[in-house]
């Protein structure tokens, strides 16, 4: 079955022009020397947490599985350095969740486990099993286990694979650098997904502010007529799954539905590159390319770091702090999580750490809503943030449900553009929690 590949993106609603601040886009990624210790949290993905299969005192090697779960929606965790397990302790993640973490003291040798060898794949089942074993989760930030995503439910037909290279968050350039530095891995990864899932249309979707990526990827996929690099408008939140699918295919994922409902699978480009490398080498997900930037950091760049390294070690590697950071973000400024200290470890789906100085961390005092309607105009989900905020604050759960509060993807366009500085998406998050809490009663 042949399908047409779009020449230009389709129209989408809303969004905002955010400052790009892609300061690190042209800087080659640096490899972090093995840190003294890493802490590997048992929850680095959406789904069931893992249970450690090592204990304090064990010697582990790079790529050795140290934790797994029997649940389908989960992903195993592998040692990112070689050395000794010193403790299994509770640690708090950026979002405030308290989880078990395996602390490994590095011996500095980065000795690779003998288990690490290319997987043998002869069928779709074996392919999915290998993806599961790799520990891969959505590396764009969502952290959804990839083997679950690639396991298309019966009765659904997927005809399009979209490789998400939008990277619409300000500052973050890890996908950009990945596309430049790991082009071959990306091609191998997408060809494997194409082959095993029987997909004949692949769209590599890149925002127009990355001409070097567009050029390099276009050359790399020139041999395959079923793969196309599509230039998207550089407008936040272009990389949000539902927006991206509409831009690439003019299809709309139904409310509460999944991309597979409209025949699409969306994979982040870094996930695709990892997959390509994993199929060739068998090295599971133990390292990550992370953008380190922000007004408080001396020497911003992308750092390839073992998973479990502390934020602090990354900051030190990038020349340390220019001045005391007032705010530290995991992720971009639009959707990232602000954390309470710099001891938190890097997890699989992290793609950026930003250090904001006092000025950049400054928050606007909210004033009264003037009903300008900007939030309504910019909402990619066609919601009415100003009303949702009012209903959430008044705890009017029925009205929240009526206005489809759960359809909000928390992109933050509303709060970004509000001239009164209203905490719109923040209140909507609270509103969503109210709806969820009522559902549980």
């Amino acid at each position: 079955m042949s399908m047409s590949l779009p020449d230009s993106p389709f129209k989408t609603h809303g969004g905002v022009n955010v400052p790009h601040r892609k300061n690190t886009a042209k800087v080659e990624s640096a490899v972090l020397p093995p840190p003294d210790t890493v802490i590997l949290p048992m929850q680095q993905h959406v789904g069931a947490p893992c249970v450690p299969c090592v204990k304090a005192g064990d010697h582990v090697l790079v790529g050795q599985k140290i934790a797994d779960s029997t649940a389908f929606v989960s992903a195993p965790i592998h040692a990112s350095v070689s050395g000794k397990v010193v403790a299994i302790q509770k640690i708090m993640l950026g979002g405030g969740q308290l989880v078990d973490g395996v602390k490994i003291q590095s011996d500095g040798k980065m000795e690779v486990s003998p288990d690490v060898k290319p997987p043998k794949i002869g069928s779709l089942d074996e392919f999915l099993k290998a993806v599961h074993e790799s520990g891969l989760v959505g590396l764009g930030g969502a952290g959804f286990p990839t083997h679950v995503k690639l396991n298309v439910p019966k009765g659904k037909h997927v005809d399009t694979l979209i490789i998400n290279t939008a990277e619409c968050e300000p500052y973050i350039t890890s996908d950009n650098r990945c596309a430049i530095e790991e082009t071959d891995n990306i091609v191998n990864g997408l060809e494997a997904v194409k082959k095993w899932l029987g997909i004949h249309r692949v769209i590599v979707a890149v925002e127009g502010n990355k001409p070097d990526v567009i050029e390099k990827m276009t050359k790399a996929v020139a041999n395959d007529s079923e793969v196309k690099v599509l230039t998207l408008r550089a407008r936040y939140p272009q990389g949000a799954e539902k927006v991206l699918i509409q831009s690439c295919t003019d299809r709309r994922v139904p409310m509460g539905g999944l991309p597979a409902d409209v025949g699409c699978i969306v994979m982040n480009i870094t996930s695709t590159a990892f997959l390509g490398n994993y199929l060739a080498t068998g090295m599971p997900l133990v390292k990550k390319r992370v953008t380190v930037d922000g007004s408080a950091i001396k020497d911003p760049k992308n750092v390839i770091t073992p998973i479990g390294t502390s934020i602090r070690a990354l900051a030190d590697f990038c020349g340390g702090y220019k001045e005391k950071p007032k705010k530290i973000l995991i992720g971009g400024p639009m959707m990232g999580v602000s954390v309470f200290n710099d001891e938190i470890p890097i997890v699989k789906q992290n793609n950026g750490i930003l250090f904001f100085d006092e000025k950049e961390a400054h928050k606007m005092e909210p004033t009264t809503c003037i009903r300008c309607g900007r939030c309504v105009n910019v909402c990619p989900m066609h919601l009415m943030p100003t009303l949702l905020e009012k209903y959430a604050t008044a705890k009017r759960v029925d009205d929240l449900v009526k206005l489809d509060v759960m359809d909000c993807m928390e992109c933050g366009c509303c709060a970004y553009s509000c001239p009164a500085g209203r905490p719109l998406v923040q209140s909507i998050r609270f509103g969503k929690a109210l709806v969820k809490a009522r559902g549980k009663k």
Binding site: V18, R251, P254, I328, A361, M364, T368, V376, G412, P419
Partner: protein, 316 residues
Amino acid sequence: MEEKLVVSSSPHVHCAATTRKIMLDVIIALVPALVASIIIFGPRALMIVAVTVLSCVVSEYICRKVMKRDNTIGDLSAVVTGILLAFNLPVGINPMMAVFGGVVAIVVVKQMFGGIGQNFVNPALTARIIIMNSFPAAMTTWAKPYYYLHSTDAMTAATPLALIKQHASPDQLPSLLQMFLGNRGGCLGETCTLALILGGIYLIIRRVISPIIPLCYIGTAALLSLCMGRNVPMDLLSGGLMLGAIFMATDYTTSPLTKKGQVIYAVGCGVITMLIRNFANLPEGVSYSIVLMNILVPLIDSGTRTKAFGKEPVKQ
């Protein structure tokens, strides 16, 4: 780390727009019309504007103090209300009446309902209507353009709309070019269409307003004027239509949130304006039409809510 970090919910960046900057843009957009009014009606026009602005700002300040609320004069919305109110008054008005208008606009219409963003009708227009009903004679005595340059005292003129209402012959009306430049009787800020359009273009370029409301309002008025067999260009250039469509009907607080709602609202403004002009005793209907449609905004809003993404059937 000894010093605590700021922890907050995303987003962690904000665009440059603030309420104050928006109001400042509106003030800038009103400058051409202000300059035109001073040229046409003399320095007294500036005095009236100063009086209403002062009255509005002082009222807002005192009101917030008495209500023990944050001081909001810094958002400049009271300044905008003051200028718009002056633009809706004849230049010869007694300054005390102008002061009274400012107090009504800010205290009664705006602050008693909670201040900026909470009023359900346009403060400047409602104040104009109240002054008009309190002092009908003063509000319908129109100075002739450039009266201040002539030594003869108190030259008054009828507005073109009043002339039309009295079935005046066409040669008694000013030419269309004179109308466009504002050389006619009328409220001090409404006469110079050229200046008002310049301000409107500025607001659209700055994305402070969308062209939906002005275009739908003016378009509807033009269409109805045509259907009623009236003089279409004369209708568009006279009265407060341009001022109303560009600056008053587009007030955020008292206009609908969605584009669809704005179309309904603006068409409604156009219809009521032309109904009043054609069938009612009053020569002009812009203030009443906008205020009436302001009252319908909550209803329009609840009927024109957006439809969430993915609610429609799947297209594949």
